[in-house]
Symmetry: C2
Subunit: 241 residues, 2 copies
DNA sequence: GCCGATTTGTCCGTATGTATC
DNA sequence: CGATACATACGGACAAATCGG
């Protein structure tokens, strides 16, 4: 439950758009109307609207109003978005998650690995490799590297359950930002060995760096998905000149 | 050149981060300092910082300051982002673009196509299929559908050059929002017929709906990329509870 | 074409709350 | 506890775009 007023306005408007109280193509009530409805200042309403626009729910039109451009989509496959643990994603997509830990060791970052991961050379990190199951089928191969000085005490049991829950609830660290890049790569021997690939010879690959509340990058991750169990959604805006 | 003050502050800070005036891991000057530096209000500075955070350049820390988390990346392949025409993307990635128009016809949206594209049933649309060349090699297969009533007068010559330039500069329409989804799909006969696929049996597929300044969806697009010529970057944030 | 009403866009100043040190 | 720094919220002012009379 959001504590901030602009967040609850955002949630309320979003819900009303999703249940067609405000229909797609129509205009939202004007800012002045919303101000009286929610008994707040103009800035607060505008922050809520800005968030809706960022998420692709509405589009503001100068001098006209705010148009609803939301359209419900029939969603298949495995949708990524936000920063989520594997269990959270699986739950959101109504699939039963499973995990098998292949490897959990520590190692020291050398120059080659530093270049690839973004970790400083010489840092000690956990090296964790896992197979992820959805509804019983091995479909995702995950590689994680965590700074051992920020994520101490990792065990295979934790890795099999949820590292993020351990980090947040046990260690009390706050996860904030993740930078990701999405590519498509050829399958590797490891993919073939551990996953159910069907006849695909490519994988959808997500690599990323994750930052904690101190702005320190504490995790590097690579997640390899079988193509038909991968989907990502995004809203973009035309750059003004 | 940005007209708004918060945009020029955003640009200035971004430039100073990219040229290491403010180094990664360090804190930005506090908001109060920036207020005097840029001679503006607190809100204006905060808008600029919020934009930088959205783009993954900085991360705010309550009670501490704003940490720079930017790291320059060695970028290969063909990077997507924002709303860009193919020519614009090619130029930004330092590659020579080419286009071959396969088909340009009009058709009426039926129920099946309406479901797939999001266009209302019965609307008349252009159906445009093109092969895109990068440095002389056929690597991308583009399908575009435009509402004919909003994009009249399309010709093969325009399609070979740049439809977006025609829309913006000749028709005077403003492109604003695009919703996209990224998936990986098996190659089709058309892919095989027109593209240089190497040994890949998958394509990176971007489908999207594009909205104009009136909040009307005027374009549906599907862009099929050979895997090694595709890459997409993103910044995500951990959802608070 | 002009003018006024409406609506969104930008910016300012201030006050208060919360987190860190 | 006080100083500093970011987070939220309010209210006001003016600009810019649109629309109707």
């Amino acid at each position: 439950m959001p504590r901030a007023k602009y967040q609850s306005i955002y949630q309320d408007l979003k819900a009303k758009i999703e249940d067609s109280t405000y229909e797609s193509g129509e205009l939202l009530p004007s800012e002045n109307v919303l101000i009286t409805q929610y008994d707040c200042s103009r800035n607060t309403v505008r922050r809520a609207i800005a968030s809706l626009a960022e998420d692709g729910y509405v589009q503001s039109m100068h001098g006209i109003g705010v148009r609803v451009i939301y359209q419900p989509s029939a969603q298949t496959s495995f949708i990524m978005g936000g920063i989520e643990s594997f269990s959270e994603s699986a739950e959101r997509n109504n699939r039963k998650p499973g995990t098998r830990v292949l490897q959990l060791t520590t190692l020291t970052v050398d120059s080659r690995m530093s270049k690839r991961t973004g970790f400083p050379e010489g840092e000690e990190v956990w090296f964790l490799q896992r197979v992820r199951y959805l509804d019983g089928r091995p479909l995702i191969l995950d590689l994680n590297m965590f700074l051992t000085r920020l994520v101490p005490g990792l065990t295979p049991e934790i890795a099999e359950h949820s590292v993020y829950e351990y980090i947040e609830n046990v260690l009390g660290m706050t996860i904030v930002t993740a930078k990701r890049s999405y590519t498509v790569e050829r399958i590797t021997e490891l993919d073939e060995k551990w996953l159910d690939l069907g006849s695909y010879n490519c994988m959808a690959v997500i690599t990323g760096q994750v930052y904690n509340a101190d702005g320190i990058m504490f995790e590097y991750t690579q997640s390899r998905h079988r193509p038909d169990y991968f989907s990502f959604h995004d809203t973009a805006f035309r750059k003004k000149r």
